[in-house]
Amino acid sequence: MEKIKEFFKTFLLIELLKGMALTGRYMFARKITVQFPDEKTPQGYRFRGLHAQRRYPNGEERCIGCKLCEAVCPALAIKIEVAERADGTRRTTQYDIDLTKCIFCGFCEESCPVDAIVETRIFEYHGEKRGDLYYTKPMLLAVGDKHEAQIAKDRASDAKYR
C-alpha cells in the first residue's frame, strides 16, 4: 500500500508541484537584497578591514618595533626593519604590509602591546596597478591619521571585553 501511494506521489508529480508552489510564493516575497553602494549593512566595532598605524595624542607614533606582529602573522605579510632614532628610542625604519598576502585575521592587532597596528572599518579600497596594495609605513600612518577618531572610538567600545 505504501509503495502504491509512493508511486502515485511520484508519478503525478505531486512533490514537484509542491516545490514549484514554494518558489512561486517566494517570487512575491519581500526581497532581501542590499543594493550595496546605495545601502550598506551595519558594521561591528570589531570589523577587520584596512590596516592603520596609530599615533599618541602628542603626535608620536606608537610603534616601538617589537616585531610581535611580524612574528604572529600567519601569512607572512608584514616586514619590519628597526633602528635607534636620534633621541635614543627604538623605532621602525620600515613597516610594510602586503595586503595581497594579508588574510585579515587580526592577530597583528591582538599581539600589539601598544595598540599601534590596528584594523579599521574601511573595506572599500583598491589598487589599480601592481604594488598598489603594498602598504608602507607612511601610507599606514596616513590611514591612521585620517581615521583616528573612529579607530579610538572602536577601541574604547571593545575595551571592556579585552
Partner: protein, 342 residues
C-alpha cells in the same frame, strides 16, 4: 490584404519571390533575436525573485539595457581556438546549433495567415530540424579537444536522442487527434464552441506533460542540464568557447526554448485561439501562451535540482516511453468510441 504591394511586385518581376521571402525571414529572425535577448533578462529577473533577490537593475531602468551590455561584451571578446582543436569544426559547431533552431521558424504559424511556409508535413519538418540541433553539440564537444567538453557532448547526445523518442510519441497523439501534420490545421482542429475546453491538452494531458518535460530535456535546460553541469563538468560542451562563438550557443539554446514554447502552445494550448468563446482569436493569445510556457521554463530552473545522469535516462526510457506508448493506444481506442469530443 497585400494589394498595395502589387505595383512593386510587377516592377521586380521574377526577383519578387526571393526578395519577399527574405523580407519575411528577416521579419521573424530579428524579433526572435530581440526576444532571446530579453528572455535572458527575464530569466535572471524571475530566478532572482524566486531566490528573494532582485536581479539585474543597474544597466538601464529595471536592468532593461542589460542584454545589450551582455551582447556588446560578448561581441568584443576574442574567440580563442584551443590548440589541438579541429579549427573548422570548432567554428562550424555553434553555427550548426543555431541554424536548425532558426530554420524551424519557417513552418510556425503565428495566426491563421501569418506563416512563412505553409508546409503540409510541418510537424515532420519540425521534428527533423529539432533533431539536427544535437549535431552542433556533438561536434562542439569533439572539436574542442577537451575532456570536459567531450563528456558534456556525449551526455547531451544520449539525452537528446532518448527524449526525442518520447517527444515523437507525444506528437503522434497530437497528429492522431488533429488528423493532420500541418501546424495550422492542428490549431484549427482545436477550434470549437467551448474555448479552452476544446484544446488538446485536456484529452492528451499526459502527453502534454511528457512533451513539455521532453522539450525541457531537449533544450538542455535545468533540471536536465547535465550537458552543461557547471558543478560537475565545468560547462560541458561549450567550455572552450568564448566571445561570439559562445553567444551563438546561447542564442541557439534560448531560440530553442522559445521554439518549444511555441510548439507547446500550438499543439496543446490552441495556438492563436481564444480561451473563452466571447473574445476574438488573435495573435496576442499566441504570445500570452508562449510567455506562460517560457515562464514555466524559468520556474523549473529556479525550483528543481539537476537530475543525476542515470535518473535522467531512467525517466526517459522507463517512464516516458512506456507512458507515451500506452497513451497512443488509449487515444486510438478512445477516438473509435463516441466519447471522443475533440
Amino acid at each position: 490584404m497585400m494589394e498595395w504591394l502589387e505595383p512593386i511586385q510587377k516592377m521586380l518581376g521574377s526577383a519578387w519571390l526571393p526578395i519577399w521571402t527574405v523580407l519575411k525571414i528577416v521579419a521573424i529572425v530579428l524579433p526572435l533575436m530581440g526576444a532571446v535577448a530579453y528572455l535572458t533578462l527575464a530569466e535572471r529577473k524571475v530566478i532572482g525573485w524566486m531566490q528573494i533577490r532582485i536581479g539585474p537593475n543597474r544597466v538601464g531602468y529595471f536592468g532593461l539595457l542589460q542584454p545589450l551590455a551582455d551582447g556588446l561584451k560578448l561581441l568584443m571578446k576574442e574567440i580563442i581556438v584551443p590548440s589541438g582543436a579541429n579549427k573548422f569544426l570548432f567554428i562550424i559547431a555553434p553555427i550548426l546549433t543555431l541554424m536548425p533552431a532558426l530554420a524551424v521558424w519557417a513552418v510556425i504559424p503565428f495566426n491563421a495567415e501569418l506563416v512563412v511556409a505553409n508546409v503540409n508535413a510541418g510537424l515532420l519538418y519540425v521534428l527533423a530540424m529539432a533533431s539536427l540541433g544535437v549535431y552542433g553539440v556533438i561536434i562542439a564537444g569533439w572539436a574542442s579537444n577537451s575532456k570536459y567538453a567531450f563528456l558534456g557532448s556525449l551526455r547531451s547526445a544520449a539525452q537528446i536522442v532518448s527524449y526525442e523518442i518520447a517527444m515523437g510519441f507525444a506528437l503522434v497523439t497530437v497528429l492522431m487527434a488533429a488528423q493532420s501534420l500541418n501546424l495550422g490545421d492542428i490549431v484549427r482542429g482545436q477550434q470549437g464552441a467551448h474555448g479552452l475546453l476544446n484544446w488538446y491538452f485536456i484529452p492528451l494531458f499526459p502527453m502534454f506533460v511528457v512533451y513539455f518535460i521532453s522539450g525541457v530535456a531537449e533544450t538542455n535546460r535545468a533540471p536536465f542540464d547535465v550537458a552543461e553541469g557547471e558543478s560537475e563538468i565545468v560547462a560541458g560542451f561549450h567550455v572552450e568557447y568564448s566571445g561570439m562563438a559562445f553567444a551563438l550557443f546561447f542564442l541557439g539554446e534560448y531560440a530553442n526554448m522559445i521554439l518549444v514554447s511555441f510548439l507547446t502552445s500550438i499543439m496543446f494550448l490552441g495556438g492563436w485561439l481564444s480561451p473563452v468563446p466571447f473574445l476574438p482569436d488573435s495573435i496576442l493569445w499566441m504570445f500570452i501562451k508562449v510567455a506562460f510556457v517560457l515562464f514555466l521554463f524559468l520556474w523549473f530552473r529556479a525550483t528543481f535540482p539537476r537530475y543525476r545522469y542515470d535518473q535522467l535516462m531512467r525517466l526517459g526510457w522507463k517512464v516516458f516511453i512506456p507512458v507515451s506508448l500506452i497513451w497512443v493506444v488509449v487515444v486510438g481506442a478512445w477516438m473509435q468510441t463516441s466519447y471522443w469530443l475533440w
